[in-house]
C-alpha cells in the first residue's frame, strides 16, 4: 500500500499497475495460445487483403466478361475464376471483405457504443434510470429479427450501411447488460466509495476505475458482435435484401447456390472467407476470454466428479503399526497441488494427529496454515487435482488409504460428517430444507421414519418451528437457523467423527455462543469425536480437549488445551496465544466467496 495522498486516490495506484500488467500479460498470453494466435493471424490476413484491395484487385467487381463465364480457377487475370455472369471472383472477394469489415465496424461499433454508454450510466446511477434502461434493452434483445427487417426495409432499402447502423442498436443489449452488471458490482466496492470520499468527481471515478474492469469483457464482446454483424449482413444479402450493385459474401453465396450442382467450387470462396471471418472472430473472442479468466480454466481439462483419494505414502516415515489407535489416526499427511508455473505446491506437509473417541480436538492456525485442507482430506472432499499421501489414515480402525471413492462415500454421513463454515452457501437454494436433509437418509429407513427423525432433530438443535422450517427454502431462514439445520444434517445419522470447519465464524456474535453450546451438548449426547478447525482460540478454550497447531502446512505443536495455553513450548504458539486480546476477535481472513474457497491453495 502506498501512502495516502489526497490528491490522488490510493486505489488508483494499486489499480493502475494491476490492469496494466494484466492487459499486457493477457495479450501476450493470447498470442501464446494456439487458437488465439491462429485466429489473430487468419483475421489479420483477411483484413490486410481487404485493405490492399486497390492494389490487389484484378478487375472492377461489377465488370463481367462474356468469355469468362464460369472461368476456372487460375485463368490468367482471373485468379479465382469467373462466376456465372463472367465477373471476377477474386475482385468480388476483395470487395466483399471490405463490405463485411465495414458491416462489422458499423454494427459492432454502434452496438458497443450504445451498450457501453448506457450500461455505464445505468450501472452507476442506478435505480429509476437503471430500471427504465434495462426494460428498454430487454425489449431490444427479444425483438424478433424478422419484424425488424420488415420494418426497416422500406426505410433503409438496399443500403447495407443503414441497415447495419440500426441493427447495431439491436446488438447492444448484451453489452449493456454486461457493462451495467460490472459497473454495478464495482460501484459497491469499497475503493470506489473511498475515492468518492476523497472528493473525486463521478466522471473521474467512472473513467478510471470502472473502465478498467469493463475493458476485457467488452473487447471479447466486440469480437462476437462483429461476427454477428457480418453474419446478419451476409444473411440479408443472401436473401436478396441488398443492392445488386454491392458485391458481398451473402450475394456471392446466393449466386453460387444457383449453380451449386454445375459449379460447386464457386461456393467455396464466399464460404471460406465467411468461415475465416466468422470463425476467427468467435474463436478469438473465446481464446481471449479463456486467457482473461486465468490459467485454471484452461488447465484442468480433465474433470472428474470424484474427489481425490488418499494413497499410502511411497516412503512412509512411520511404521504402520505405530498408530495411537482411537477414532482417527493420521500420520505424515501430505497434500499437494499442481502449480500454474509447473511443479507441485505443497499445502500440507507431514501432518500427524489423533482424535480419540469422544474427544474434541481443535485444529488451529492462521489462514494458509493448511488446516482446512487437512480436514477435507480426511473427509475425502478435496478436488481431483489434489495429490494426497499419508503413511497412516485410519478411521475407526478402518484404513482410508487407497479406498475407492464409492467406499469413501459410504462412510460419509454415517461414520464421518461435516459442518461447514458458511451456512447459507451450503444449502441448495432450490430445494426445501426438509427434502435436502431427507435425501441422505431414506436409504436406511422409510420416508416417514426419516421425516420424524429429522423433525425431532430440528427441534433438538433449537429450531422453534421444525415443521415450518422443514418446508421452508434456505433463503427464508436466518443464518443462525441455517447453521443449526446443517448441524442437524450432520448428526442425524449419528456419526462417529464430526469435522466442523469454523462453524461459528460466519455467524453473529450472539448466535456463536448458542451454536457452540449446541455442539458441546450434541457431542456429549452422541459421544462423537470432533475435529474442530478454527483460528479462534476463544472457541478452542471453550470446547476443545486437545489442540493441534499448524503453520504453513506443518505441524507446530500439539497437546492438551491447558498445556498449550499455559505452557506453549514453541515460539509460534506463544505468539498465537499472546495475540488473543479479548472476546472481540476481528476476522482476519476475507469473507469466503465461492470461487476462492475452492481454489484455496493456501
Amino acid at each position: 500500500m502506498t501512502v495516502y495522498d489526497p490528491s490522488d486516490s490510493v486505489v488508483t495506484a494499486t489499480l493502475d499497475e494491476q490492469p496494466a500488467t494484466r492487459r499486457a500479460g493477457a495479450f501476450r498470453r493470447l498470442l501464446r495460445t494456439p487458437l488465439g494466435l491462429a485466429s489473430l493471424v487468419a483475421l489479420a490476413v483477411v483484413v490486410l487483403l481487404g485493405l490492399l484491395e486497390p492494389i490487389l484487385s484484378t478487375h472492377d467487381p461489377l465488370f463481367a466478361s462474356l468469355e469468362h463465364i464460369n472461368a476456372p480457377v487460375g485463368t490468367p487475370g482471373w485468379p479465382l475464376g469467373g462466376d456465372q455472369y463472367g465477373r471476377d471472383i477474386w475482385a468480388r472477394v476483395l470487395t466483399s471483405i471490405n463490405v463485411s469489415l465495414v458491416s462489422a465496424l458499423i454494427g459492432a461499433g454502434v452496438g458497443i457504443s450504445v451498450g457501453t454508454v448506457f450500461g455505464l450510466i445505468a450501472g452507476y446511477v442506478g435505480k429509476r434510470t437503471d430500471a427504465v434502461a434495462s426494460w428498454v434493452f430487454n425489449l431490444l434483445m427479444t425483438f424478433p429479427a424478422l419484424v425488424l427487417v420488415m420494418v426497416l426495409y422500406p426505410v433503409v432499402g438496399s443500403a447495407y450501411q443503414g441497415m447495419m447502423l440500426i441493427f447495431g442498436v439491436f446488438l447492444a443489449p448484451g453489452i449493456f447488460r454486461l457493462v451495467r452488471n460490472l459497473v454495478e458490482g464495482v460501484r459497491n466496492e469499497l475503493y470506489v466509495d473511498a475515492a468518492k470520499v476523497s472528493g473525486l468527481s463521478n466522471l473521474r471515478i467512472l473513467s478510471r476505475h470502472v473502465f478498467y474492469v469493463v475493458r476485457g469483457p467488452v473487447i471479447i464482446s466486440a469480437a462476437f458482435l462483429s461476427s454477428a454483424a457480418i453474419g446478419v449482413q451476409a444473411g440479408l444479402a443472401f436473401l436478396g435484401f441488398g443492392s445488386t450493385q454491392t458485391p458481398s459474401f451473402g450475394s456471392m453465396t446466393s449466386d453460387a447456390f444457383q449453380s451449386i450442382y454445375t459449379q460447386p467450387v464457386q461456393l467455396v470462396w464466399p464460404a471460406l472467407f465467411l468461415a475465416v471471418l466468422n470463425g476467427g472472430l468467435i474463436l478469438l473472442g473465446n481464446a481471449y476470454r479463456d486467457v482473461l479468466a486465468g490459467p485454471q480454466s484452461t488447465r484442468t481439462k480433465k474433470r472428474s466428479l470424484h474427489e481425490a483419494t488418499v494413497v499410502g505414502s511411497a516412503t512412509p516415515r512411520t511404521a504402520p503399526s505405530r498408530s495411537a489407535g482411537g477414532l482417527l489416526s493420521v500420520r505424515n499427511l501430505r497434500v499437494q497441488y499442481p502449480a500454474p508455473e509447473g511443479g507441485m505446491k505443497t499445502v500440507v506437509d507431514g501432518l500427524s494427529l489423533d482424535v480419540q473417541p469422544g474427544e474434541i480436538v481443535g485444529l488451529v492456525g492462521e489462514s494458509g496454515s493448511g488446516k482446512t485442507q487437512t480436514a477435507f482430506s480426511v473427509l475425502g472432499l478435496l478436488p481431483k487435482e489434489a495429490h494426497i499421501t499419508a503413511d497412516v489414515m485410519t478411521l475407526a480402525g478402518d484404513s482410508l488409504l487407497g479406498k475407492k471413492p464409492a467406499a469413501l462415500r459410504a462412510l460419509r454421513g454415517g461414520t464421518i460428517s461435516y459442518v461447514p463454515q458458511e451456512p447459507m452457501a451450503n444449502l441448495d437454494p432450490s430445494f426445501t430444507i426438509g427434502s435436502q436433509l431427507m435425501e441422505g437418509l431414506v436409504k436406511g429407513m422409510s420416508r416417514k421414519e426419516a421425516k420424524e427423525a429429522i423433525l425431532a432433530l430440528l427441534d433438538r438443535v433449537g429450531i422453534p418451528d421444525p415443521e415450518r422450517t422443514f418446508r421452508s427454502y434456505p433463503h427464508q431462514i436466518s443464518g443462525g437457523m441455517a447453521q443449526r439445520v446443517l448441524i442437524a444434517g450432520a448428526v442425524v445419522s449419528r456419526p462417529k467423527l464430526l469435522i466442523a470447519d469454523e462453524p461459528t465464524t460466519a455467524l453473529d456474535v450472539t448466535v456463536q455462543a448458542e451454536i457452540l453450546d449446541l455442539l458441546r451438548e450434541l457431542q456429549r449426547e452422541l459421544g462423537m469425536g470432533v475435529l474442530l478447525v478454527t483460528h479462534n482460540f476463544g472457541v478452542v478454550a471453550d470446547l476443545c480437549d486437545r489442540v493441534v497447531v499448524m503453520k504453513q502446512g506443518e505441524l507446530v505443536e500439539e497437546g492438551s488445551v491447558r498445556d498449550i495455553f499455559h505452557r506453549p513450548s514453541r515460539p509460534y504458539t506463544r505468539e498465537l496465544v499472546g495475540a488473543i486480546l479479548d472476546e472481540q476477535t476481528v476476522r482476519s481472513d476475507r469473507p469466503a466467496d465461492n470461487a476462492s474457497r475452492k481454489d484455496d491453495l493456501r
Binding site: 463465364i69 445488386t244 444457383q258
Partner: protein, 504 residues
C-alpha cells in the same frame, strides 16, 4: 400483357433471369393421392393472386385455366379451336364478333353455362383489374339467344380472339362472379376442380379431374398437384428426388445432372423476349432517343449472337424483333437488319449530333443483372455511358412511369399471337409515354382489320426499321421431365396442363 404481371415475386425469388418462363414442376407423391401414374406434379414460382374472373394476375395461368374453361381453346401446337364457343366469326366491319356457344355445359355448382352467363362474365372482364386494359376495345356484349353471344368492338382489334383463349376469356359461375369466395374458391366448368381440402393456399394446389368435361380425353391425368417453390435450386432438388414430374432448367450445364435413363430434357418454344426498351422516343429525359438514328445506332452496338451464346447457351437466341418466331409477323431477314457494326453505329451517332456519345441511367433489377455488363460494354463501345441504378423490383414500375428512365432492359412474355405481342410492346411500362406516329397508327388499323396470319408483318417491319426498340434475344427455355410423363412443348406456355400426358 397480362402474362407479365407476376414478375415482381418471380423475379425477386431470384430465378435465373433467363429461365423465368419455367415449365411447371410438381408436388409430392408421398401424400398418396390415388394412382401415382395418373397424378401430374408441377411447380410454380409464386402463388397466384386471385381466382375471381378478371383479376387473375400471374405469369402462370395453369391453375386458372384448369378450373375455368375459356371461350376459345389454344392447342399445344398454337392453333385456336372451339372451347365454350364452338365456332365464331366476325362481321364485314370486323367490329362484331359472334360466338356460337356449346350446348349442355354447366358449372361445377350446377348452374347452366348459357349466353346470359357469358354476357355476365364479359361485363365483369371488361372491368376486371387485370383484363380491362386488354379488352378496352369491347364496347358492348349481348345475347340474342341462349347459345349465341355477340361482342361489339369500338374498332377492329385482332387481339380479341386470341385474348379469349387465355385468362381474358374465362367463364365463371354468374352467381358468384363478384363474390369474395370466388377469389380463393373458384366455381368454373373447366377440366379440373380445385380440391379445397387438400389445397393449402399459397403453398400447394390440388386439382381433381372433372369427368363431365366435354374434352375430358385431352386431360388424361386424374389429379394435378401444383406446388409453390420459389427457389430454383429447390426445384432442381425436388426434380432429382422424384417429387416433381417437370421443371425448367436455368442453364445447359444442368442437363448433365439429369441422366437420360430417368429424365428427358429439351428446349421449349419461344416464350419471352428480352430487349432494351427505348421508351423515351419523345426525347424528354434522354433527348438523344428522339432521333431514330441514335436508336438504330444502339441496335447496331450489340453482337447478339455472342451475347446469346455467352450468357445463355442453349436457350438464348439472337433476335432483332419483338414478335415471336412462331408467328406470321416474324421475318427471318429482319434479323439481319442491325448486324453488329460498331463503326456504323458511331457514324450514325455522329450524324445525329452525338459524336461524343451521351450518358444514360438505367435501372438495375434482378432481371437485368446478368446482362448488365454485356449491355454496358456494348454501349460504351459506341460512346454511350451507362450508369446502372439499383432498383428494388417493387419500385420498378413506378419509377418508369414516374419518368426516371429513358430506356431500360426488361423481358416480355410472348402471348402466342402477333396482335397480343405487338399490343403489349406498345402499352403499359413498355410505352409509358404513349409514343406513337400516324404511320404506326394506320399500320395497326390495317393489321387489326385483316384476318391474315401475317397481318402484323408490316407493323413489325416498321418497328424494326424505326428502331422503336433494341431487341436482343428471345428465350427458348430448357425443360426436364421425368420419363414417367410425355411432354410436348406448347407454342403458348404456362397455359394448361395439356402438354403433359402419362407415359405408359
Amino acid at each position: 400483357m397480362v402474362r407479365m404481371t407476376r414478375w415482381v415475386t418471380a423475379a425477386v425469388a431470384m430465378a435465373a433471369a433467363a429461365s423465368l418462363a419455367a415449365c411447371a414442376g410438381g408436388g409430392s407423391a408421398s401424400t398418396g393421392t390415388g394412382d401415382a401414374s395418373s397424378t401430374l406434379r408441377l411447380s410454380i414460382a409464386a402463388p397466384p393472386s386471385n381466382f375471381s374472373i378478371g383479376n387473375w394476375s400471374g405469369g402462370d395461368s395453369t391453375l386458372a385455366m384448369s378450373v375455368y374453361d375459356s371461350l376459345i381453346h389454344r392447342e399445344v401446337d398454337g392453333s385456336l379451336n372451339g372451347g365454350l364457343a364452338e365456332s365464331w366469326e366476325y362481321d364485314e366491319s370486323a367490329t362484331n364478333l359472334t360466338l356460337h356457344l356449346r350446348e349442355g355445359v354447366s358449372f361445377s355448382n350446377g348452374e347452366p353455362l348459357d349466353a346470359a352467363a357469358v354476357v355476365a362474365n364479359v361485363e365483369v372482364l371488361r372491368a376486371g383489374s387485370s383484363t380491362a386494359q386488354n379488352l378496352a376495345s369491347v364496347s358492348s356484349v349481348a345475347a340474342p339467344d341462349d347459345s349465341t353471344v355477340v361482342i361489339g368492338l369500338s374498332e377492329p382489334d385482332a387481339a380479341i380472339v386470341p385474348l379469349l383463349s387465355n385468362t381474358n376469356g374465362l367463364i365463371g359461375a354468374p352467381s358468384v362472379l363478384t363474390a369474395e369466395s370466388s377469389q380463393l374458391a373458384p366455381v368454373g366448368s373447366g377440366p379440373y376442380t380445385l380440391n379445397e381440402q387438400k389445397t393449402v393456399a399459397g403453398a400447394k394446389y390440388v386439382l381433381d379431374k372433372n369427368a363431365d368435361f366435354y374434352d375430358a380425353a385431352d386431360y388424361p391425368f386424374e389429379t394435378v398437384e401444383i406446388q409453390v417453390i420459389q427457389d430454383p435450386t429447390a426445384v432442381q432438388n425436388a426434380m432429382k428426388a422424384g417429387q416433381l414430374d417437370s421443371a425448367g432448367l436455368s442453364s445447359e450445364d444442368l442437363i448433365a445432372q439429369f441422366p437420360e435413363s430417368e429424365f428427358t430434357t429439351g428446349q421449349n418454344k419461344p416464350s419471352t423476349v428480352g430487349a432494351l426498351w427505348l421508351v423515351d422516343r419523345e426525347g424528354t429525359i434522354v433527348p438523344a432517343l428522339k432521333d431514330e438514328r441514335v436508336r438504330r445506332a444502339i441496335n447496331l452496338a450489340f453482337d447478339r449472337t455472342a451475347i446469346a451464346e455467352g450468357l445463355g447457351s442453349g436457350y438464348l437466341n439472337a433476335s432483332e424483333q419483338i414478335v415471336s418466331p412462331t408467328g406470321g409477323a416474324w421475318d427471318d431477314e429482319l434479323n439481319g437488319a442491325y448486324d453488329y457494326d460498331v463503326d456504323q453505329a458511331k457514324q450514325l451517332l455522329a450524324e445525329a449530333g452525338y459524336a461524343d456519345g451521351f450518358d444514360v441511367t438505367m435501372p438495375s433489377t434482378v432481371v437485368s443483372t446478368k446482362f448488365e455488363s454485356a449491355i454496358g460494354q456494348a454501349l460504351a463501345d459506341i460512346g454511350v455511358t451507362v450508369t446502372w441504378e439499383s432498383v428494388p423490383f417493387q419500385d420498378f414500375y413506378s419509377k418508369v412511369f414516374g419518368g426516371s428512365y429513358g430506356m431500360f432492359f426488361m423481358m416480355n412474355g410472348l402471348g402466342g399471337s402477333d396482335a397480343l405481342d405487338v399490343n403489349a410492346s406498345l402499352s403499359g411500362v413498355f410505352n409509358p409515354y404513349l409514343s406513337t406516329t400516324p404511320e404506326l397508327e394506320s399500320l395497326l388499323a390495317a393489321a387489326n382489320l385483316s384476318q391474315d396470319e401475317e397481318a402484323f408483318a408490316p407493323v413489325n417491319e416498321y418497328l424494326v426499321d424505326q428502331a422503336w426498340f433494341a431487341p436482343l434475344f428471345y428465350i427458348t427455355s430448357l425443360y426436364v421431365v421425368s420419363n414417367d410423363v410425355e411432354y410436348t412443348s406448347p407454342v403458348v406456355g404456362n397455359l394448361t396442363v395439356q402438354p403433359w400426358s402419362p407415359n405408359n
